[in-house]
């Protein structure tokens, strides 16, 4: 992985007002707002809220980075890159890795603010909330790339936003699955974000099924990865 490329992607993310508002601003503001409204006297609720908003920020960052593929394609930047040694697959892998790295920002930020506002966890629990959540983002990095592949420059923002909002709400990042109506909870179980969010929730709920969580997330990663590869072959064959 080319570090110059990675650093440029990071700087571009930090420069983007949209990115800063959605993936950094929203999770922090909503954490502070909701925790002062509902969770001041309830440390467990506060912890769940922190884990949920960190997960939301991470998921948004991860998916958004991949969706830039569509924008850069419509700009003609990919055509420009084809005049360099960077291969089209290398470009997409770079975007997925960038998504992972960028996602660390909102996760760490919300968790640090959580710590500063009284969330108290032991080191193993912090590791689970930060690192566990982060690693579980891999399928979402692949999903972002897929959206970038199939969307057009015009449609990608709507598709990307709808995707991360639906995944976040349906996966129980905004409010815990226990508070969902039954039918929604049934749907939620199919979503990768439900299992992703479960990693952070578990430090309070103690209800994680580690085996199933890993299995579901790996299955989503492999499944999305196969679709990306298929689509990629079709795209390059068209040249």
């Amino acid at each position: 992985m080319n570090t110059t490329y990675l650093f440029l992607e990071l700087r571009r993310s930090l420069r983007s007002p949209r990115f800063m508002i959605f993936t950094v601003g929203f999770p922090v503001i909503f954490y502070l707002l909701f925790s002062s409204m509902y969770a001041n006297s309830d440390p467990d609720a506060k912890t769940v809220l922190m884990a949920g908003m960190a997960g939301f920020g991470g998921l948004t960052a991860c998916v958004s980075t991949g969706t830039r593929i569509a924008v850069e394609r419509s700009l003609g930047w990919q055509r420009q890159l084809r005049l360099t040694p960077l291969s089209p697959s290398g470009y997409m892998i770079a975007k997925a890795i960038c998504g992972m790295v960028v996602a660390l920002g909102p996760i760490l930020l919300v968790d640090v603010i959580g710590l500063a506002t009284g969330v108290s966890l032991n080191p193993a629990q912090w590791l689970q909330v930060v690192l566990g959540t982060w690693v579980a983002l891999i399928p979402f990095a692949v999903l972002g790339v897929l959206i970038g592949q199939v969307a057009t420059g015009d449609s990608v923002q709507a598709i990307g936003s709808a995707t991360f909002m639906l995944l976040s709400i349906g996966g129980g990042l905004w409010f815990p699955p226990e508070q969902m109506p039954g039918w929604l909870r049934d749907i939620a179980h199919v979503l990768p974000s439900y299992w992703y969010g479960g990693i952070g929730r578990d430090v309070v709920m103690h209800d994680i099924d580690a085996g199933t969580t890993v299995l579901v997330l790996v299955a989503w990663t492999v499944g999305l990865g196969l679709v990306v590869m298929r689509r990629f072959r079709a795209d390059t064959a068209r040249v």
């Binding site: 440029l8 571009r12 055509r79 360099t84």
Partner: protein, 301 residues
Amino acid sequence: MNATPPGAAVGIDGLRKHFGDVRAVDGIDLVIAPGEVVALLGPNGAGKSTTVDMLLGLSKPDSGSVTVFGQAPRDAVRSGTIGAMLQDGALLPDATVGETIALVAALYAKPLPVAKALDRAGVADLVGRRCGKLSGGQRQRVRFALALVSDPDVLVLDEPTVAMDVETRRQFWRAMREYTSTGRTVLFATHYLEEAEEFADRVVLMRAGKVAADGSVAQIRATVSGRTITAVVPGAEVGALRVLPGVRDAEVRAGRITLACVDSDAALRALLTQFPLASDIEITAVGLEDAFLALTAQESA
């Protein structure tokens, strides 16, 4: 089958590409020697960009082959042997000029130092500027820097000066001269006749997907420019007219002769000396521009 001699910088052999009914490139053969500066000259729609795309491996020929120093186009791109500035190349609006050049440089094994590429393209002063805030001419020069940063042996430019004003254009060609003086091979597509004349060693004229003429600037000029003398000359024969000084070609039709001249003054003197009865004489200038248009116009006219 490949007719490209070994050692050629660029070898194009029987190249064809169509889009639907349009035969954009319709059988092109071209060999470019190392160090040549070649202009691919032709009006819009002649097939220049389509040719350039195949030379860079951006699109696949229907038939025929392209090699760059013996390599397939994709391999030549990957190894940095060939570099290019496309007609519609994009820049990331939210990245600075310096970041963009540094990014592309980092993708190559042996790039030019970023500062040097910026300097050669005349954009050193724009290093911190966001690409989205550049003028058309500045963008072109940044893209030129992008093409230079891989330090390619063969540089391909598709209509490089289209968005530039006169001064920028002059700067651009000055930078190009510096680059070509190091013995590098350049192929540039243009529809500006003067650019081809001024900067190329060799001009390849394209029309409707085919090569209409190929030669040194002087050769192309001799084929396309000059003056035409017409007159009524009783008893003149084409053979005698053709050998007159200053005459390139002659034609006799219904008692009226037409002389295509390289030097119309000399031709007229000789004509009047040898054929004192010549009358109704007209001399018309065929500008290079007119001749170029004639040569590249569609045959259907």
